[in-house]
Amino acid sequence: MSKKIDVLIIGAGPAGVAAGIGARREGAENVVVLERDWDLGGILQQCIHPGFGLRTFKEELTGPEYMHRFIKQAHDEGVEFRTNTMVFEIDKATNTVWTMNKERGIEALNPGAIVLTMGCRERPLGAIRIPGTRPSGIYTAGTAQRFVNMEGYMPGKRAVILGSGDIGLIMARRMIWEGAEVEGVYEVMSWPGGLRRNIAQCLDDYGIPFHLKTTVTRIHGQDRLEGVTVAQVDDHMTPIKGTERYVECDTLLLAIGLIPENELSRMAGIDIHPVTGGPVVNDLLQTTNPAVFAAGNVVIVYDLVDNVSDEGLIAGASAAKFAAGKLSGSARRIPVKGGENVRLYSPQYVTGETDATIFMRVTHPIEGACRVFAEPGLYSQRLRYARPGEMNEVKIKAEQIRNLPDLQEIVIDIQPV
């Protein structure tokens, strides 16, 4: 018999590696991180551009460099990693985690606590229903990123990018550096999906045209993509007749959003939030199954990996406390409600047992002075603007919650001042 696992973490990306560190630092003896790939680090291994970790390390690292530092810390803390190991089932009655590995075979693990850190997936072509043919040459931006940065293949010579999520912007520049042409980036919304600095350093630096309120309305080509039709859209996102334009290209990259990956979470019987697409969690990052915790992009899609790592540390520490029987079952459960201009947020409950950071995105951009706040009178911060592509935060101290024993609800919002 192998010794009992105290905290079992699923996925060795930034959230999972940090969760391992957090669990060990909280005193968990046997902390194991499972990873289905042969290597640790998750998606950051293919994000070879700089821009990661400015807050954590006070310098801008590439994705692999950022993970290198965290993986080293995890090894130093005594976290055990099992690569090439796939979790294929979680039994919600017993919290048994079933794993598969070439050497170890099929195993049933019964840990003291589980941390879900599976990350997210890209929204595929099927999600947006573009008329036309289905030739080769159409990829999600992250798939193309993996081809170029890890497999050493170029997806094509002349690309159109649909959607302006950060990965799409980063891939526009990457294609240029590899000698391809990028005809333009098309975004159906009237604001960019990604960070402004990526529009500056990935598009403007190379003169790549950026078209807002414009989308791809038809795909052309039989075996290989030959071109796309693009058209402007009206305020209801309906293509405007007469604005159609044919664009020749052999590659279409999609950067149209990310979806938390929660197939295993559903098996674990936990509630999934209808808007975030991730587990409903409290500020300890505990899901509705008390033995199961979750952190990172599996919960809500973050802008910055620094936030993902921070949340991983919290989830790991909470899981270690639970496994040691140190989390009181009688924690308060104060619901957080999003106001008029809040599209999504996490966590959805506050316990008052820890200082809480609530991450949120606005529904509509505010281009001017505004205020992010939590009522009743828990937090207020002035902002110069608020944009859907850039997350905002509300911070609430445990003491504030403890001082309000009758608190029934917290409302967060961002409004112009």
């Binding site: 291994q45 700089p50 400015l54 590439t62 940065n149 000698g179 500056a200």
Partner: protein, 123 residues
């Protein structure tokens, strides 16, 4: 006559809108719109000697992966990026590769080194 130049700061995820005012000789008179010292120095560098960190991959012989990510250790002159891209594209290295290992010293006479940005084991 002074000249105004506007651009987005790329020093951090905030992406502040910067306005730099230059005099006739091209000297910086003032920087506005930044919210930190990094923004001020980025603005000054951007009008005099714009630089970017270059990141790409090199081909690897005998490695766990066919390519290894690289970066310029420090920001490289923006005007030399395509020349640097070509120099990097021609390079092939042998596995194993260590993170931080210098692969091209003083690339294209820019005083900037190209280094590996991950460990890559041999097969």
């Amino acid at each position: 006559m002074s000249e105004e130049r506007k651009f987005i700061c790329v020093s951090c995820p905030l992406g502040c809108g910067l306005t730099v005012t230059l005099d006739d000789a091209g000297e910086v008179l003032k920087v506005e719109g930044n919210t930190c010292a990094r923004g001020e120095s980025y603005a000054r560098s951007e009008v005099k000697d714009p630089r970017r960190v270059f990141a790409s991959t090199v081909r690897v012989k005998g490695g766990k992966l066919p390519v290894c990510p690289i970066r310029s250790k420090t920001p490289a002159p923006k005007g030399k990026l395509s020349e640097i891209a070509r120099a990097v594209a021609e390079l092939e290295v042998n596995a194993p590769v260590k993170i931080g290992q210098v692969l091209i010293h003083n690339v294209c006479g820019s005083d900037v080194d190209i280094v590996a940005s991950r460990d890559l084991a041999a097969v």
